[in-house]
């Protein structure tokens, strides 16, 4: 019976993970997975004929208090590092379980699984805490590299494997401890060289590892719940890791071994601007209440008017309110935006001029700047030294979120820099306007 109840728990994990990967069902998914965990724990406790429950109760209470406290109190901005630390604890737990079992007579097969559990668990532990330190700013986010790095890591890894082999062969359980020590060191050495900006990918990979460690521990104590749950996380976590590096346009190998992705943590890549992906922007648009398109000369150059209209159609099909804000001097001739949007058959009542747009912008969820620049430059309003000071602008910085679609950070007609791009409400989507809008249309249909 206990096995079948574990199977129920596993099924809940599976359904939970599936839902977690879709925006609309994620929260329920998490709850289902938690329910699965509850089932597994209760079944175990009921079935257990333990010598003493003291340790168990003490450990669970302590852990619950610490975990609950951290989860509630830590600032939202520190979430990634918190997850890293939790993950480290999970790896540690698997290693501990294996170490407990390493005492006494151990079959070779079991020895191998103990070794795997200890090695992977310890590596996860130290790696996760280095990642935590980098994200928290305790350790420098800069990639730390020195010559012969890979060789050193290889040596440490070999030492760990050797210690484990010795332990398995001789039955000397202290060998597993040595192996664990080597793995701890390896975790530190492997993560230190990776830049802070790449930490999320590293944490995800370590998360996949902690699944494998749990699975290995499951082999040690011959428990199917651990094997199934661990394998699930191991595999799903790996796929997620790959997707995360894809989203950064990197390969996983490149993330792990290049020492690239330097600078401070957070998503700040390529200067001080926040760079978004098509998917980021698509989700923001799909769940927005109102969207304001702000076309400029770049829309004309890209001939992106039809794509803009398509995106607007896709959003309206999701009950998002859409308008277009036309600045009097957008483009390169009077009425430039009008002629293009009329060609794309945008209804006239969606076109707003400056006076109509600005009051609306402060109530807009997302302003999408399509190849405009000077006409949304806040220095015309804020910086008396600017050559365009005094020109009325479209105050897109009053919207909740600003998405800027252009190919680079280069300036527009007036040849001046635009502080909007560096605002923390702004997400830059660097691409040709037509391509970006078409990609957004495709992406939105997924959500």
């Amino acid at each position: 019976m206990i096995e079948l109840l574990y199977l129920v728990a596993a099924a809940l994990f599976i359904v939970g993970l599936r839902r977690l990967s879709h925006p609309a069902t994620a929260r329920v998914g998490n709850a289902l997975a938690a329910l699965g965990m509850l089932v597994a724990v209760v079944v175990t406790l009921v079935d257990l004929d333990a010598v003493s429950y003291t340790t168990i109760v003490a450990g669970m209470v302590t852990g619950a208090v610490i975990g609950g406290f951290l989860a509630q109190r830590v600032a939202m901005t520190a979430m990634p590092q918190l997850v890293a630390s939790f993950n480290g604890f999970g790896g540690a737990a698997s290693a501990f379980v294996a170490l407990i079992e390493s005492g006494g007579d151990v079959a070779t097969e079991t020895g191998v699984t103990i070794a795997l559990s200890v090695l992977i668990g310890a590596l996860t532990l130290s790696g996760s805490f280095v990642a935590f330190g980098k994200l928290q700013g305790i350790i420098s986010g800069r990639p730390l590299s020195y010559p012969g790095q890979l060789a050193v890591n290889g040596l440490v890894a070999a030492a760990g494997v050797a210690a484990a082999t010795w332990a398995i062969a001789t039955g000397e359980s202290v060998g597993y401890w040595y192996a664990g020590g080597a793995a701890l060191l390896l975790g530190v050495l492997a993560v230190l060289p990776i830049g802070g900006a790449d930490m999320p990918v590293v944490i995800s990979l370590l998360n996949s590892f902690s699944g494998l460690a749990a699975s290995a521990a499951g082999f040690v104590i011959e428990n199917s719940a651990l094997i199934v749950g661990g394998a699930l996380v191991g595999a799903a976590g790996f796929i997620l890791t790959v997707q995360m590096s894809d989203a950064m346009n990197r390969t996983l190998a490149n993330v792990l071994f290049s020492g690239f992705g330097g600078g401070e943590p957070a998503a700040a890549i390529g200067g001080d601007v926040t760079r978004g992906t098509v998917d980021d922007v698509a989700v923001a648009l799909a769940y927005a209440q109102s969207v304001m398109f702000v076309p400029g000369y770049g829309m004309a150059v890209a001939q992106a008017q039809h794509a803009a209209r398509e995106l607007a159609d896709a959003l309206e099909a999701r009950n998002v309110t859409v308008h277009y804000a036309i600045h009097p001097v957008a483009g390169r001739m009077p009425g430039h935006m009008n002629v293009l949007l009329a060609e794309a058959d945008v209804p006239y009542d969606q076109l707003l001029d400056l006076d109509q747009s600005n009051p609306r912008l402060s109530k807009t969820s997302v302003a999408v700047i399509v190849g405009a620049n000077d006409v949304v430059n806040p220095s015309a309003r804020d910086d008396p030294g600017s050559p365009i000071y005094g020109m009325p602008i479209l105050e897109v910085d009053h919207a909740d979120t600003v998405v800027v679609i252009k190919r680079s950070l280069s300036p527009g007609f007036a040849g001046i820099d635009n502080p909007l791009f560096y605002s923390d409400r702004t997400v830059m989507l660097f691409a040709d306007a037509k391509q970006a809008l078409e990609d957004l249309v495709a992406a939105i249909k997924q959500y």
């Binding site: 599976i14 977690l20 925006p23 994620a26 929260r27 709850a31 597994a40 175990t44 257990l48 333990a50 010598v51 340790t55 168990i56 003490a58 450990g59 852990g63 619950a64 610490i66 975990g67 609950g68 951290l70 989860a71 509630q72 979430m79 918190l82 997850v83 939790f86 604890f89 999970g90 737990a93 698997s94 501990f96 379980v97 170490l99 005492g103 097969e109 999320p200 995800s204 998360n207 460690a213 749990a214 082999f219 040690v220 199917s224 094997i227 199934v228 394998a231 699930l232 996380v233 595999a235 976590g237 997620l240 997707q243 995360m244 998917d279 989700v283 923001a284 209440q289 109102s290 997924q446």
Partner: protein, 97 residues
């Protein structure tokens, strides 16, 4: 190889396939919550910790057991709670009230 090991491997491989197939294209906004949720599930090792810790062999084992249970519980409880918190914020952040 023992039967238990073999059936363990079968179960492991099949679960791995489920895990691989499970994750389709995930929107980047969900990357962190999903990672966090998956991490909480990897806390299933708590079951192992309870079983191993409950055996209460000697002092070392007891200490290790306590540590294992504590760390695993932190992972499970903290993990699920923090995921829920993230997702709650995520929902609220997008549509403006």
């Amino acid at each position: 190889m023992s039967d238990a090991l073999i059936s363990g491997i079968v179960v492991f491989v099949l679960s791995g396939f489920v895990g691989f197939e499970l994750i389709r294209k995930v929107p980047p906004t969900l990357h962190t919550p999903l990672m966090s949720g998956a991490n909480a599930i990897s806390g299933i090792t708590i079951v192992g910790a309870i079983i191993a810790g409950g055996l209460n062999q000697d002092t070392t084992a007891t200490i290790l057991g306590f540590l294992a249970i504590t760390t695993a519980t932190i992972n499970v409880v903290g993990g699920f709670l923090v995921t829920d918190r993230m997702l709650g914020m995520f929902r609220r952040k997008l549509p403006r009230q």
